[in-house]
Amino acid sequence: MANDRNRGRRRQDWFGGDGRSGNFAGPRDRDDGQGRRDGPGQYDRRDRQDRRYDCRDDGRDRPQGRDRPAVEQTREVVLPGDLLAHGKNIGGPGTYTENGVVYAAQLGVRTFQEGKVSVLPLGGKYMPIAGDEVIGKVLDVNPNFWLVDINAPYPAPLHIDESAWQVQIGETAKYLNRGDIVAVSIQSVDVVKRSKLTMKDGHGMRKLAGGMVMEVSPSKVPRIIGKGGSMISMIKDRTGCMILVGQNGRMWIDGEPDMILVAAEAIGMIDRNAQQSGLTDAVQRFLEERTGSRR
């Protein structure tokens, strides 16, 4: 088969920037000018709630930090084909219904949300939802748009009219090139799951220079953010790093090199142990060990 592309679920890439970007902020700068901490995937959902329900044709709800209990408890792992419940309209995402019985469709953790039985997949690709703030990697540069990989089954275009800059047609390469990392948000998703990106919505949409990009499974993002942002704040405070968490499972970490690695390891720990109880304490202990008397 042609084009066997490497799509590792977890990649730790180190990107050196060229120093040029929209509003690049240093590692200590944590305020994006609107009194809020950082950009994509932030834990303050007040501004995102009305955008969560656009353009979804499969009735999928996103398990957000607000709806989903981030309380640590062990939950049951289910396999495709496992019987979950009986009922006609109670199947949520990650399930399918046959003859009034709900079965699991993916390998994941069974949860109950808003009256529906769902499965939170352990792995899986990111399925784009309008309004989500994600971290993308530029795949291709065209005269009037860039093609961006957002860890979804399909790459998404970012048109120059939707970028943060005034770009003349044909001058796209001056702003973003192949391999550059951008914080963008998903403007719309159509019925065949084609999405469009924009930098005009959301906070801190910009090219990300320097730092390191890390990938985890998209379903782990709420756990990494934590209830009210508690988990990610803990990591940011202790390592002094700036961390942007994208809903697509990609995150950007910037700061001092050794602290970046500590933050990355902490996130890796959460990714591997998302269902375990006592995770917050374990992460806290790990951070204390590795950052010592710094904070």
Binding site: R7, Y103, Q106, P153, R272, Q276
Partner: protein
Amino acid sequence: MEEVKLIREDGLRADGRKFDELRPLKIEANVLHRADGSAYVEWGQNKVLAAVYGPRETHPRYAQKMDRGIVQCRYNMAPFSVTERRRPGPDRRSVEISKVTAEAFERAVLTEKFPRASVDIYIEVLEANAGTRCAGITAAAVALADAGVPMRDLVASCAAGKVGDQIVVDLGKEEDNQGQADLPVAIIPRTGEIILLQMDGHLTVDELEKALDLAMDACKRINAIQREALTKRYAVRSGEVKDGPEGGANDG
């Protein structure tokens, strides 16, 4: 060439198995870091590796479907997998197995959830000893679950056949080569729906029914082993958080 006695005096098969006994089967999930999902199966002397990528953009483009996704499969045998070195590259048999495997999984995977995209399955046979297509399908099902591809169930596959006038399950190499019929089957274990059925040889209708029953029963047993492999890999252990950030096969 010496003819091996396929059914012995005591009624057991050449390798000592009973007519409904499977060869030893071991499955391990999530063995390749770069694939979205993967599995490794050792079945008798067979060693098969399955990797799944997707859902991702369909290549070639003309194969994409607008309203749903597709499943593509490439079954390949390594040159060193057989006794006489096999020249690398697809041959007619590999192309056929790739086709029937992809078609079987199209029945199990919920393709409406990812229009225009494709789930790509790669099956590599590292060591072959009859029943590789069944081992491949069994491995691919585990790899698909590992990748988080939405599916109706974990597909299980096993071959039955007629050897020395007796209906047996899970043919070994000699039984396949010298037997009278070989019947690979793949099913959706929960419903018993048949998604792959091929036959090589001669069977009467009664014999076919008996062989099918045997194979379907074997598939249910294989399904249990598949589930165990995934549970072992992913089940939540109550208690301590897995030690240290560098542990586990998922780094890199």
